[in-house]
């Protein structure tokens, strides 16, 4: 009797578990037309400007790729920013990856070590166009080196040499409104003192009429890799010769981390001084990225730090709220009139293929199509009318199967030079080889002709190119850059084990110093802690790797 009852329970339990099990059954690899189904991990953007009816999964770019490669593209997941990272983290921890997705360098290394991604060496050599190979080769350090282990390529990295410097975007309309004598010589190179007094004036006068103006807001992480970080202290550090989070040689030729140098201590002391005097945001540390952007959008602050492309995705929100807003790009210089800067590796997001995916060459073909064929098609309007239409509408490139760029070493400034020549009337717009740049030049002219009536898109393109990239070009032309070359870019076992924790500690200790919880001399304690919590092991491994 009893066993029989137990048996019934058991059957019920098993059938229920069986039902749950059915959910995870794998889908077929081909659709009804016999086309291969390729699943993507899709990194999206907040405002893609897609025409009505089109989606991230079904748009002109995706349809073109499906037609040319005779496949069906399906977005396994779509997410943006931190949410995308979370999706990737979940995909890695569950071991169920999409066929093609983009990951960070850190995630890439984890995927490689877990043997979850495909070796792309052979398909890359066989299928990648000469143009694509040349793009990668144009860099001093080939970005592919970051994704190559033992001579085998496991991922295709984005390649963009973000044009320095790290900039300070300032509300020029406020400067005009208050009739300030700011940057009298007009070279856009300013000193710490000038920035300080401007911030104090903005706080005092409150030109945004918000009632609670904020001087200079910075994000609580203060630093991030590269010189593109929005709301980071990179440009302030450059005045002192501080290069946080770069592996550099110190004065004695020993390898160290830029976060540990006396120069970084001096830069922090400066920021702490600003905090004490109310020039830095008094709520520094508690604000999220969005909160800081909101300060700019509300008109509470008119001073934000970031890269040349900031108007395209960030400051355009300020323009939406305040139609008359005008920004100008400045950068801080030291007493020698120099911008001190650590060179960066050009890589970024990395496209990878799931290990057991049957057709890894599809990734290479996608890259050929988007970063060679479409870029170099002289007659886009007739050959790919849908794509041409998208570029006229300024649809975000994020809707393409891969949300990344592969450009040559100097592309950003080359493109800028072409656009500038067209605007100055030295060449015709139609002489610009790249269709995207043609439409950018047209938009910029639209803005120059009639700034009051121009669209936000034209405003943003004008600001990012004619002010942002213009400043970068100016610094090169007038020899204002003082370059420092980091000695190491990759990763080591100790970096994987300890560096994440060291970065969190750095962030916390720097906040304590700036907000006055600890005195500036606490920096020396931080350096000791850094060395003892795995930092020494990292430095030893880097030295060993360089010695090889």
């Amino acid at each position: 009797m009893n066993t029989k009852k137990g048996f019934i329970y058991l059957v019920l339990l098993i059938s229920l578990l069986g039902l749950l099990g059915c959910v995870g059954e794998s889908e077929p690899e081909h659709n009804e037309d016999g086309q291969l189904i390729v699943k993507l991990g899709k990194q999206t953007a907040t405002n893609p400007k897609l025409p009505e009816g089109d989606t991230f999964e079904d748009n002109a770019y995706m349809r073109l790729a499906e037609e040319v490669l005779d496949i069906e593209l399906v977005n396994e997941f779509e997410a943006n920013g931190e949410d995308y990272d979370r999706q990737v983290a979940l995909a890695i921890s569950s071991g169920e990856l999409p066929d093609i997705m983009q990951v960070s360098q850190e995630e890439f290394e984890e995927l490689y070590e877990n043997d979850l991604i495909a070796d792309l060496t052979d398909v890359f050599e066989e299928h990648a166009s000469d143009y694509i190979q040349e793009l990668y080769d144009s860099y001093e350090i080939n970005p592919l080196e970051d994704t190559t282990f033992d001579g085998r390529i496991y991922g295709l990295p984005a390649a963009v040499n973000v044009t320095p410097p790290h900039m300070i975007w300032i509300r020029q309309d406020w400067i005009d409104q208050l009739q300030l004598d700011f940057d009298a010589d007009g070279d856009k190179l300013i000193t710490l003192e000038e920035l300080e007094s401007l911030a104090l004036t903005f706080i005092e006068e409150d030109p945004g009429n918000t009632g609670n103006p904020v001087g200079i807001p910075l994000a609580h992480w203060l630093n991030e890799p590269g010189y593109g970080g929005a709301f980071t202290m990179t440009t302030i550090g450059s005045v002192f010769g501080s290069y946080p989070r770069n592996w550099i040689e110190d004065a004695d030729g020993n390898i160290t981390n830029g976060s540990l140098t006396p120069e970084t201590k001096a830069a922090l002391a400066q920021i702490k001084d600003w905090f004490d005097r109310g020039i830095l945001d008094p709520q520094f540390g508690t604000r999220s990225w969005d909160d800081i952007m909101a300060l700019a959008v509300n008109g509470q602050t008119g001073i934000v730090t970031g890269a040349w492309h900031m108007p395209d995705w960030g400051l355009s929100n300020v323009k939406e709220m305040h139609p008359d807003v005008v920004f100008d790009a400045y950068t801080l210089v030291d007493d020698q009139n120099k911008v001190n800067i650590a060179s960066q590796s050009p890589g970024g997001s990395i496209a990878v293929v799931r290990k057991d995916f049957s057709n890894p060459e599809i990734l290479i073909k996608l890259i050929n199509l988007f970063y060679d064929t479409l870029k170099n098609e002289p007659n886009l309007e007739e050959v790919y009318p849908d794509i041409y239409q998208y570029q006229v509408l300024d649809v975000d490139g994020a809707v393409r199967p891969l949300n990344m760029e592969i450009l040559g070493a100097t592309s950003e400034l080359d493109h800028y030079a072409e656009i500038r020549d067209a605007i100055n009337g030295e060449i015709e717009v139609s002489d610009i080889p790249d269709a995207r740049n043609q439409s950018i030049a047209t938009s910029i002219m639209e803005y120059s002709d009639n700034p009051e009536e121009a669209s936000t898109a034209a405003w943003a393109l004008y600001h990012s190119r004619m002010k942002g990239l213009e400043l970068g070009q100016y610094l090169i032309d007038h020899d204002h850059f003082e370059w420092v070359n980091p000695v190491f870019f990759g990763s080591t076992p100790a970096i994987e084990q300890y560096y994440g924790n060291l970065l969190s500690m750095e962030e916390e200790e720097f906040i304590k110093i700036v907000t006055g919880v600890e005195s500036i001399d606490h920096f020396d304690t931080f350096v000791e802690m850094w060395h003892s919590q795995g930092g020494d092991e990292i430095l030893a491994e880097i030295e060993a790797e360089i010695a090889e």
Binding site: L16, S94, G95, N114, Q283, S504, E507, T515
Partner: protein, 305 residues
């Protein structure tokens, strides 16, 4: 043995079988979502690599626990958890008792009901929502600081100060839940024999005396029981509240075990270490539950299991 077996099978006769089948989905739910994940605790003793899975990852023994105790931040995390959770338990209990006693004295029925509803309400709102309200009220240009400034005080950076963050967390939590917590105490008060109050009045006891000598002693068993049963919660600082309110500035005073495990284990993808910290917390929690159960038995002659 034979005897017991017979009664067991007897219990499974028809009417009981229906009831057991009704429990079954709940039991299955419990097995799948509460018991099965426990096997994942093995990860704490492994160098867990998602690709290799639980069965393929290498065992490293107590390495993660050793690393945990070597980190200077771990002591801070446990201290914060205990201080915040302890503060919440103490103030929630005290305020709920006082509120229950006062509310019981309100004789106007509609007033009593409406006050009750108003103080219960916040308990049903999620911290995700409430956090943005708290942030807006307590940041540097929020209402609270505006009021304080009109008295010539402040401004205080509540969300960015290591002195004020814990009081803020405890205070807002007590505000959210004291009303709901007072329900049990109200019930305890109503169960006190009114005859005792009458007798005390006749003996000349004033209101204060009656509360002190009749109401409170009558509530004492319930107060003790609830306090003891709350003891295991001393390690639950309240993830959702703190996660939505904290920032790196106040990690010093506000980072609790759960937020730490989330950051290190899930976002930092250090699964094994996160599991080790979580397991350590669970072990302390288990010890506390067992001792609380024993204490409850000793003082109130009731126990959970």
């Amino acid at each position: 043995m034979q005897q017991r077996k017979r009664t067991a099978s007897k219990r499974l006769t028809n009417p009981n079988l229906t009831y057991h089948l009704m429990i079954l989905p709940g039991i299955i739910f419990l097995l799948i979502f509460n018991y099965t994940p426990m096997f994942g605790l093995v990860m704490a003793f492994q160098d867990y690599v998602p690709a290799k899975g639980i069965f393929g990852s290498d065992f490293v023994g107590f390495q993660h626990f050793a690393y945990m105790f070597s980190l200077p931040s771990i002591g801070r995390v446990f201290t914060n958890t205990i201080v915040i959770a302890g503060g919440k338990i103490i103030f929630n209990t005290l305020l709920a008792i006082v509120f229950a006693i006062l509310l019981n004295e309100v004789r106007v029925r509609w007033l009593k009901k409406s006050v009750q509803t108003i103080v219960y309400l916040p308990n049903f709102l999620s911290w995700v929502v409430l956090a943005s309200v708290v942030v807006n009220m307590f940041n540097l240009d929020g209402n609270v600081n505006q009021i304080l400034e009109s008295f010539g005080l402040g401004p205080f950076n509540f969300l960015g100060s290591n002195q004020l963050f814990r009081p803020l967390i405890i205070g807002t939590d007590v505000w959210k839940s004291f009303g709901f917590n007072s329900i049990v105490y109200l019930a305890a008060i109503t169960s006190i024999d009114p005859g005792l109050h009458e007798a005390a009045s006749i003996d000349g006891a004033n209101w204060w005396r009656r509360i002190w000598h009749v109401t409170l002693p009558g509530m004492l068993p319930i107060i003790l029981l609830l306090a003891i049963l709350n003891l295991p919660n001393i390690l639950n600082g309240g993830f959702d509240q703190i996660y939505n309110l904290y920032s790196p500035v106040v990690y010093q005073s506000g980072d609790i075990i759960d937020t730490y495990v989330y950051r290190v284990g899930l976002m930092g993808r250090d699964y094994s270490f996160g599991t080790a910290v979580g397991l350590f917390k669970s072990i302390i929690g288990l010890v506390l539950i067992l001792s609380a159960n024993q204490t409850a038995k000793k003082f109130t002659e009731r126990q959970l299991f």
